[in-house]
């Protein structure tokens, strides 16, 4: 009885402490949204009397071209995630279920490349993109990051666990290898494919440094690059800045809340196994 009460008190304390920390962690985003909805020019006035408006969003989307940046971000993230997931899934199938020349060497090389900080690749990647005349293009932003080693790694681990007997059965039924991949392996790998897809989407949505290097004109800016340029050009236009920040944060936040299971599982699996 005493223990039971002690437990309840403990739970209430834990709840209150957690709630306090949660408020601290989420406060910046609440304040960002609140500022984004305040009338332009009142970003620095701390009063609830200013009222709320969509004016900032209208302004950044249409006057400051963020609609365009938003579209660019979406194109880059969508195509990057789609192709890098597809390529990684294809390669994972081969690595998990087939024998071929240099298989282990290649896999080891891929994994080893993950140890290298991304900054090292930036310089020569930039030169390759420059040489291909891909500066300031979508392909310049997308293609260099389509070999997603982390995705390959967790997809391969997952594909290994699919029983060989299923593949044999399909083969006896006369299915071609490509059909086996497309209609047997891929559907069986859906949960982990979804994880890799979401992680890739998020990565490319936030791949700021690379986009900053490749996108050189207003036409090609993504949301974070546009935000960086906007901040340089308009000091202290805080309500607009926070509206633009919200545009970058809200889509990922929404996707995350609905698909958090995939995010968390994928990230922890990769961390634990790697």
């Amino acid at each position: 009885m005493l223990n039971y009460r002690g437990n309840r008190v403990k739970k209430i304390i834990v709840f209150l402490v957690s709630l306090g920390l949660l408020i601290v962690v989420l406060f910046p985003f609440v304040w960002m949204l609140y500022t984004a909805f305040k009338p332009p020019g009142t970003g620095l006035i701390f009063s609830l009397k200013t009222g709320l408006t969509l004016e900032n969003f209208k302004k950044v989307l249409f006057e400051y071209n963020f609609l365009r940046y938003f579209k660019n971000s979406f194109i880059v993230a969508f195509f990057s995630a789609t192709f890098s997931t597809l390529f990684a899934a294809m390669a994972a199938y081969a690595f998990a279920k087939k024998r071929f020349f240099m298989k282990n060497t290649l896999f080891w090389l891929f994994i080893a490349s993950m140890m290298v900080p991304g900054l090292l690749y930036v310089i020569p990647q930039f030169l390759v993109v420059y040489k291909l005349r891909w500066m300031n293009t979508y392909q310049g932003m997308i293609v260099p990051h389509l070999a997603n080693v982390f995705g390959l790694f967790i997809l391969t681990q997952f594909a290994k666990e699919i029983p060989d007997s299923l593949i044999e059965a399909a083969r006896i039924d006369g299915a071609s290898d490509f059909k086996i991949f497309l209609f047997l392996m891929l559907p069986l790998m859906v949960p982990i494919v979804a994880t890799v897809y979401l992680l890739n989407f998020q990565f490319h949505w936030s791949n700021f440094l690379w986009q900053l290097i490749v996108a050189q004109t207003d036409r090609m800016y993504t949301v974070p690059v546009g935000l960086a340029m906007f901040k340089n050009a308009h000091q202290e236009a805080y309500t607009l800045e926070m509206a633009a920040s919200s545009l970058s944060i809200i889509p990922i936040a929404i996707i995350f809340v609905f698909a958090q299971r995939y995010f968390i599982e994928g990230i922890t699996q990769g961390a634990v196994k790697g």
Partner: protein, 300 residues
């Protein structure tokens, strides 16, 4: 024999796209960066052919550059701040979330959410919160801080800028460590705690003598990724400080937060790509040796 040849060809069709991109944009760049680090690059016109070989001069230039020493120093300072803070905050969150209570899973989602958001944009938001005179946090803390700090803001004052960036990034990334520690905590057998209860161990004692030692693999992971993260930190500093504020050290003005990532970005921006590549390899060596030493120490 024919079957196996077929398997070979098929396999390479499946790994083909991945392999091609890997070779072109990861494998080749790695080797080419090594090549560049021994050459002088000033324009983009002749980067593939016609570069002047300079031996180790790029490496020597960087190793002798006081700005590099300074960048290493502030990066180490950042790492020393953020790694323990991040581990402590993640452990606190995991310990709290381990207690089953109402809304527990909703809270986990809330704690994890900022981790998936763009570091640059989150940095912009924090810059707004911490700015002098107008920032909401600066105003909330006004009774507690000096007038100078109030006016310059947390990011404009040399002594507070690094702790502020570290705090912002810990609050953003703590949910990730939380999830890792939670998963590891679930693998600790209950019997160990029961035995400790019989011996009359207090809650804190149980934490420091049982839980924390058993979570060592996760902590090692957090330290190593934290080091790599500090050495390649870029977006958060680009957003929040741009390298500033200026302080005088090593006989010249230095940016209080001019970390190695920003120092490298300067070389890229001014197209001194040979030096940038040399710097990248020096940083890679530092990362690898620290990770190896740490992993060795942990095994003992």
């Amino acid at each position: 024999m024919r079957e196996s040849l077929r398997e070979q060809v098929e396999s390479y069709i499946y790994i083909g796209p991945f392999l091609l991109i890997f070779v072109l944009f990861i494998g080749f760049p790695f080797i080419y960066a090594f090549f560049l680090s021994f050459h002088r690059v000033t324009t983009l016109q002749d980067v593939f052919g016609g570069l002047e070989f300079v031996g180790f001069r790029n490496y020597i230039f960087i190793l002798k550059d006081p700005r590099f020493h300074w960048a290493l120093l502030v990066t180490a300072y950042y790492a020393i701040l953020i790694i323990p803070m991040n581990i402590a905050f993640s452990l606190i969150l995991a310990s709290l979330m381990r207690v089953p209570f109402k809304l527990n899973s909703l809270m986990k989602t809330g704690f994890f959410l900022p981790f998936v958001l763009d570091a640059f944009v989150v940095g912009i938001v924090w810059t707004f919160l911490l700015s002098g005179r107008f920032g909401i946090i600066t105003n909330l803390l006004r009774p507690l801080i000096s007038e100078a700090l109030y006016r310059q803001g947390f990011l404009g004052t040399p002594s507070t800028v690094m702790p502020s960036v570290a705090t912002a990034m810990v609050l953003k990334g703590g949910g990730f460590g939380m999830v890792l520690y939670l998963a590891a905590m679930q693998n600790i057998p209950k019997e160990i705690y029961e035995a400790a209860d019989i011996d009359g161990a207090s809650g804190l004692k149980k934490f420091f003598y049982i839980t924390f030692p058993l979570l060592k693999p996760v902590t090692t992971f957090m330290v190593i990724t934290g080091l790599i993260g500090a050495i390649s930190a870029f977006a958060e500093f680009y957003a929040m400080t741009g390298g500033g504020p200026t302080v005088f050290h090593f006989g010249m003005p230095q940016g209080m937060t001019k970390v190695t990532g920003l120092y490298l970005f300067d070389f890229i921006q001014s197209l001194r790509l040979g030096k940038a590549a040399a710097l990248a390899f020096i940083l890679l060596l530092i990362t690898l040796s620290i990770s190896l030493i740490y992993a060795k120490l942990q095994r003992k």
